[in-house]
Amino acid sequence: MTNYILRRLIGMIPVLFGITLISFFVIHLAPGKPTDVMTDLNPKVSQESRLKLAELYGFDKPVYEQYFVWLSRIVKLDFGASFLDGRRVADKIAERLPVTIGINLLSVILIFGAAIPIGVKGALHYGSIFDRVTTSAVFLMFSLPSFWVGLLAISFFGVQMGWLPVSGITSLDFASYSLWGKCVDIMRHLILPVVVTSIGGIAGISRYTRDRMIDVMNEDYIRTAVAKGLPKNKVISKHAVRNALMPVITIAGLMIPGLISGSVISETIFNIPGMGRLMVDAVFTRDYNLIMGELVIVTFLTLAGNFAADIVYALCDPRIKFGEKK
């Protein structure tokens, strides 16, 4: 087991390195530097002071040199400071990461919680009304543009009905609430964003589960289980579902990049200070340190996520020996 883990970790490093290399050069393709953004067309700042500023931040050096400077700092886990307001990139990301991960975890739970039963039931009652209705409903949710749904949801639940808060993650006098009050408040704020972000994901997972379930139900060992006289629901829960759900775990691993990068749109609509929003602003203001910092963290978490998914999959499926070629 351990040498499998070691091999995977060693495998991660080139990938991480590759991604940072590509993104560093892609970003530097674009015209304009952060210093331009800051002192943009401001007559007070003369041309030569703008060049001096560029030196200050090291933008005059060729791109690959900048990359090595940046890389040497990253190795020491120093992400540098954001050009916008001089704050450490690590702090800025640290503020936003928990919010995004929190929301995305909830939406993953919601996605799997809703999609798997739909998928399994759909497969068992193949072609029944339930199957047809859920399939079209699930595709309906997949095909709705998320920001349109978001705004409709807010104006209906938030404004007309007034049940849920409109945006943000905490209400105004949050500080004065009791601990329990705080939890309830945050929960009420998160209901809409989580639902909207997870609507798209349910279609993919439920369709995938349904196909796997149908395949597994045709397997011979299911027929053996029935021949052993096991009741139908036992056969399904003990044998069918367990075999069908294993590949679904790897799918969870693949969803992480989308989730961690945060749904920029729902963060904008629901006014949630998340990673997605941070990245969009960073891109517009050419905040290289912040963009690269966020890329490294998002990529690292994605690799870790995929790795964890593989481990869980290997634990569930005894056929996969760690590393040995069967």
Binding site: L29, L151, N218, I265
Partner: protein
């Protein structure tokens, strides 16, 4: 599932008809601005009503269907070509080629694709073609992995060995035996991909990086309608429904194709 698939097929056919015969179907010149007729509700003269500049929404939507279809097909076309080629070669030749291609695919999969699209689109002038190319170049990984898995099984099939025994070259085998049989699942993925590409375009338009006015696209019409939701519901409802039905249609088509290629699903 038969009715749903045929329903999906009809939707796609309707979309194609709208795109091809746009000039005939459109009731008005979609670029005609008429401030006096701004925000008119749907009526006999304007089937879908008018937008903030008084342009007929129905005509703009019909012309936009061309842009939407192009975005979908070109973007996913690029992704399919890259995916199929890389997938087949890494699956068929295996060894060093396989591990290099697969490492690269894993890397691209971990890559926060939306940011790449964001950064590139933000820096390159957001025209229709750029968006399609970018969406295409960042969504081929799924197809590549799928094709690689297919090719791995096809490679061991007896008719491939028989062809080798008959002295046929590797290239012949790949293009005559491997790819035709591998195309089935790729086609399914292709169709689902189109639905995805359409949604990505509408998301990009939301951030202002999608297809830029005055070229109409459902994304930017929807965005325009977003702020006027209270006043002119039709400016946002109709493009939203259009996106929904198109994506829904393609998904159903994909489901149908999947059952066609994997008979056991039909059972």
């Amino acid at each position: 599932m038969k009715p749903l698939i045929t329903f999906g097929f009809i939707l796609i056919a309707a979309l194609f008809v709208a795109a091809v015969f746009a000039p005939f179907i459109a009731t008005h010149d979609h670029t005609a601005i008429n401030i006096k007729e701004a925000y008119l509700p749907p009526s006999a003269s304007h089937i879908f009503g008018t937008d903030s500049l008084g342009r007929d929404l129905f005509s703009r939507m019909v012309y936009a269907s061309r842009v939407v279809l192009m975005t979908g097909f070109v973007a996913v076309g690029i992704a399919a070509v890259i995916g199929v080629v890389l997938g087949s070669f890494s699956g068929y030749f295996g060894g060093a080629i396989d591990s290099v291609i697969m490492r690269f695919t894993d890397m691209m999969l971990c890559f926060p694709v939306f940011f790449l699209i964001l950064s590139v689109v933000a820096f390159v002038t957001p025209g229709i073609l750029n968006i399609m190319v970018i969406i295409g170049c960042t969504s081929w990984m799924g197809i590549a992995r799928l094709i690689r898995a297919e090719v791995l099984t096809l490679r061991t099939k007896d008719y491939v060995l028989a062809a080798k025994a008959l002295g046929r070259s590797n290239v012949y085998i790949v293009f005559r035996h491997i790819i035709p049989n591998g195309l089935g699942p790729a086609l399914v993925n292709f169709v689902f991909g189109i639905a995805g590409a359409i949604l990505v375009e509408s998301a990009l338009s939301f951030l202002g990086l999608g297809i830029q006015p005055p070229d109409p696209s459902w994304g930017n019409i929807l965005l325009e309608g977003k702020s006027g939701m209270g006043v002119a519901w039709w400016v946002s409802v109709f493009p939203g429904l259009a996106i929904f039905f198109t994506a829904f249609g393609f998904n159903m088509l994909g489901e149908g194709l999947k059952q066609f290629f994997n008979p056991r699903l039909k059972r």
